[in-house]
Amino acid sequence: MLRSVSSLDEIALLNIFLGIMASIGLAYIMFLLLNVFPYFKKSRTLMLIQVIGGLSVLLGIWALRIVNYTKESLNSVYPLLVLAGMSMIILPLVKLRLFKFDRSLILQALLILLSLFPYTVVHVPWNFVPGTFVLAAVLFLIRFPLFLTCLSPLGMVLVNIASWLWVIFAWLRYYLIQTPPTCMSYALLLIPVTSLLLWDFSVIISYENTRRWL
């Protein structure tokens, strides 16, 4: 059932804002890759796979935002769209050796997956399980600018902060299920908002630097 929308619904606004932030970051990652890919031979198919992957992630993220807001029962297609899309973005990068599974990435991804642990003891909606995998998948995109030397040392620090904030959010998101939303819920939503803002800033700078030099 659709939740009734009040004239000022902060959770809805924050959800829209999160969706917009994620979409901007994703779009700039795609623009950045469109700068990089023409330098590789026979890269057109890989580029096409990535564009389809990008659109799939975008569709999935917005569907999940809407589901998150309307509290409709989660269709398992939406997280799958994000995960499949993310694989379509990352696998060509791995093939071209532009993506590295470094220690920090593996540690952070593991920590996000371990955030499922409270799920086993606390009663929370089942959509937290696919949601965890979506959070882990988004982490891969957040850390991607670190694998190309297109950020200043400060930019790299910002990406690291963004990725750790993402991990913290994965562990604290259980507080978000409180209804009606409490002050804590709003404060918690500021964590992914800050993380995505830092990520967007870093990705835009990365794109500008690759565009200048390539």
Binding site: V36, P38, Y39, F40, K41, L98, L148, T149, C150, L151, S152, P153, N209, T210, R212, W213, L214
Partner: protein, 200 residues
């Protein structure tokens, strides 16, 4: 060899054959210095560059005779051996501008790009070629920058300082067999480079 910018030539002196000149800059500021050197030595110049920069240089009438070797067209980022091979095949006594270091840092780890740069520098030294290249110092850490400086014989350092509402650009000779210098005012207008008075 001389670059063709009077004050800079005075600061650098005659650049010996086999030298490697590294321009440490912010973004692309100072690319005009390399372009000026290419114009002055156009009959014996070659450039390793990206397609975007090639489009820009092709519009400069004075660079008609320059040989271009383009990343993504003549060689892929993974085919660095093609660049070193091409450098070995070029006749001696050449001026080569390599606008590849920063683009390659996007595709490769900095250690690999440094080894590539060191190899280019060695080839240039052995074959009497003058090599000029650029690096965006904002995008590399100080340690990486220092390793690149070590393989260069001359280092030109470009800075940009904001004072009030004015942007002041400066240039100094950071490394040279002759002597190092303080910061001099750098003016770039319509592609023309002018090195002015000593900054305080």
């Amino acid at each position: 060899m001389r670059i063709g910018i009077p004050k800079l030539d005075e600061l650098l002196g005659e650049i010996e054959l086999g030298s490697t000149v590294l321009i440490e800059t912010i973004g692309e500021i100072g690319i005009e210095i390399a372009i000026e050197a290419l114009k002055r030595n156009k009959e014996k110049s070659a450039v390793f560059l990206t397609p975007r920069l090639k489009k820009r240089l092709e519009h400069i009438f004075e660079l008609g005779e320059v040989v271009y070797l383009t990343l993504g067209e003549d060689f892929a980022p993974q085919e660095l051996f093609k660049v070193t091979h091409a450098l070995r095949e070029l006749p001696e006594d050449r001026f080569i501008a390599v606008f590849l270091i920063q683009p390659l840092l996007i595709f490769h780890p900095s250690q690999r790009v440094y080894r590539f740069f060191a190899e280019l520098s060695d080839i240039a030294n052995a074959r009497g070629i003058i090599l000029m290249t650029m690096i965006d110092k904002r995008l590399v850490d100080e340690r990486t920058l220092a390793t690149f400086e070590e393989s260069a014989t001359h280092v030109i350092d470009i800075v940009e300082v904001i004072q009030g509402f004015k942007i002041i650009r400066g240039l100094r000779i950071k490394k040279s067999p002759k002597k190092i210098s303080g910061f001099y005012k750098l003016k770039i207008k319509d592609g023309n480079v002018e090195v002015g008075e000593l900054l305080g």
